[in-house]
Assembly symmetry: C2
Homo-oligomer: 412 residues x 2
């Protein structure tokens, strides 16, 4: 039997900028100094080397060693150049304004291509209180997606509340992998701020293969914050231990959700993948903003509204590692999806494991968080410095040609 | 019975820059003045408003009315700015060199995303003698892809030879729609140069819907040059008339082929779609450069090497118009694919229809071509002017949100 604790207390905070929910009666919100959100954002951007100057908003400006000197000289240099321009007009070949404008427009177009480029801070859930801060270069091991709330950086694993509305069973989902993309992104559970980074195999960024008829991941894939699949816990259903990660979610709605999006979802059911011997729950969810969200309340509603998707999902998880030379994955319960109630119980259980984890004195994962009562409170200054110490956002590395290939696999 | 003519004469031209093959004994190559290919290209670029200046290579530079004046002043203005820079260094916020470099790099990344952006002149078949020249803005009715050979612009429909190697039955395919994209592109059969443009419905650029489990077109889609499905001809197999277009091809190889690519293919078979009552052959082909090309010689080899693809193909064509409110399409021969020999005969027949078409005095389609003996010889000066008269390459318009949506259709 799955051991479950009592339901969570509803959030008691009334502050609109307070993004941290209480974990339980022993873990209250640690209120952070209330500062103007805009000012705070700007300051952190500056300290993180992220400029707020419009002409530097292009997401792919690598910083050079000359930057500091250039900033000091910007006033004088710009005035002199403006003087020249006033007399001669912008020469085409070096028109900085025109090219800067190009650069921004090109970026905003490229931004939509999540299989090739960066998020460019575009969020599908545009009204979210969370922003993404991308660092490093996409498709390299340096790439990180940090998440910022109104008061500064947060850990997407520990600081984003599990529940949007506990009574209505609406959860937050952190999107790691947009639909139709191949890069295997996940929260870095051992790093401060637990940013999203690309998984690696043998020192190389990992991509999933396209298996006909699918292209990359066939849902928006991510995890529920404030959950943990405890590797010391053997699941009574699967007889296998947890995989040491937050619990995985596939979001089946129409919209392609960008990396780092924090999306309120309804939970519809779950599959129990036995991925190389570990229990790896794959919750099935739909964004509450999806046009079909009201119609879909349980796993049976999925087949009615998305015919073929559950079968494709089960098949996808069985075979997705075959082109990489791995065997077919097993799925517990003969591949059957469990319903929403079962899934809610699994989530509650992994939420309890997480609560215990963040109280551990010497956890093997990074549990720094703003959640009150945690053993390792987040230090904002150290976090800002940690972000600043990462490479600035650079050009995406070219995606491997393999991303354009289809693998054809005939299952027996 | 399909009426077939004798096999074509092999190409007699030995000139490596002569891209036009003879059509039959009455239609010889009209040799064009041999000019240096590089010079020719540059001149046409200039006359078409396409700059060859490195800092303007970004594909998305809209031209402004101030351009002419800027060009005249570039020497003086640049010298003055260089003077300022020598003394003060580049200020960060307006560093033109850095931003121009950004812009080019961003473009070369974005270029790979054919579902969102432009080709950026990148061709999958990099050693092809053909180049694409994009004009207008992607996803608008202005968008055009012109094709250039070593001697200047060509009509992809009329001037590119049907055969790469007639004895080996290797054909040229003109790619109109890259795999996994949604924009319905096709050769504009009524326009001079028959460039590729986006099909329109009721004045709006047309996109196909994503039907689960597929994203956009599931092959590289295009047409064979120098073929025509004569609408006055009732096919004896399908009892339906031709659709007035060059014959369609789906290319099933691994690589995603960009719009306008000219790809040598092997023909493997064909489906006979009855699209809204018209005979619409869909040839199945594979690029001769594909790693599997040697293994795949006939339609039976497709199922062996690409299991599930033919079934998916048939289903795709049956249902692809349903989200647009159209009925299920019919397929002749009970949905059965015909083999390579059958397909070769159909191609030969449509090649004959095309030969007759380009000899017509008053055709309803544009048949201007460099092919000798055609009723309407191409005039290079007029073609260059026609290209120049089209809008310069601009920013892609945002793709419709619908492109990110999956439609789920349950067939009875």
């Amino acid at each position: 039997m799955v051991v479950l604790t009592a339901a969570e207390q509803p959030t008691t905070s009334t502050s609109t900028i307070d993004t941290i929910s209480p974990v339980n009666e022993a873990l209250h919100i640690r209120r952070r100094p209330t500062i103007n959100a805009t000012t705070s954002t700007t300051e952190v951007q500056k300290s993180a080397g992220l400029s707020s100057s419009p002409s530097e908003m292009a997401p792919s400006c690598p910083r050079t060693g000359r930057r500091r000197r250039r900033v000091m000289l910007v006033g004088t240099g710009a005035a002199a150049i403006l003087f020249v321009i006033a007399f001669f007009g912008f020469p085409t070949a070096v028109s900085p304004r025109a090219i800067a404008a190009e650069s921004r427009r090109a970026s905003s177009t490229a931004a939509f291509d999540l299989n090739r480029g960066t998020n460019n801070n575009k969020m599908a859930n545009g009204d979210s209180q969370y922003q993404v801060v991308e660092r490093g270069s996409l498709f390299t091991l340096d790439y990180r997606v940090f998440i910022k709330g109104p008061n500064g950086f947060v850990s997407p694993w520990h600081d984003i509340p599990l529940f949007v509305d506990e009574a209505k069973k609406i959860y937050n989902m952190v999107v790691e992998i947009p639909r139709w993309t191949n890069a295997k992104m996940e929260m870095a559970t051992k790093e401060p701020l637990t940013p999203i980074k690309q998984d690696e195999k043998k020192g190389v960024p990992r991509f999933v293969h396209n298996i006909f008829p699918h292209r990359g991941y066939i849902w928006n894939y991510g995890a529920l914050p404030q959950t943990w699949e405890d590797p010391s816990h053997k699941d009574v259903n699967t007889n296998a231990n947890g995989d040491n990660d937050p619990i995985d979610v596939i979001e089946i709605g129409s919209a392609v959700q960008p990396r780092g999006a924090v999306v309120p979802v309804k939970i519809l059911g779950t599959l129990a993948l036995l991925d190389e011997g570990e229990t790896d729950w794959k919750l099935v969810a739909i964004s509450t903003a999806d046009p079909l969200a009201d119609k879909v309340n349980n796993i049976a509603d999925v087949e009615a509204n998305f015919p073929g998707l559950l079968k494709a999902t089960e098949e996808w998880f069985r075979i997705y590692k075959i082109p990489a030379g791995k065997p077919v994955n097993e799925i517990a319960f003969n591949g059957e999806f469990k319903d929403a109630d079962f899934a809610h119980n699994i989530i509650a259980e992994t939420h309890e494991f997480w609560k215990a984890l963040i109280k551990e004195d010497k956890p093997k994962l990074n549990t720094e968080t703003h959640v009150e009562g945690a053993a390792h409170p987040a230090k904002d200054d150290a976090w800002n410095k940690a972000v600043e110490a990462t490479p600035a956002l650079g050009e995406p590395k070219a995606a491997p040609a393999e991303n354009d290939k289809w693998h054809f696999i005939k299952l027996p």
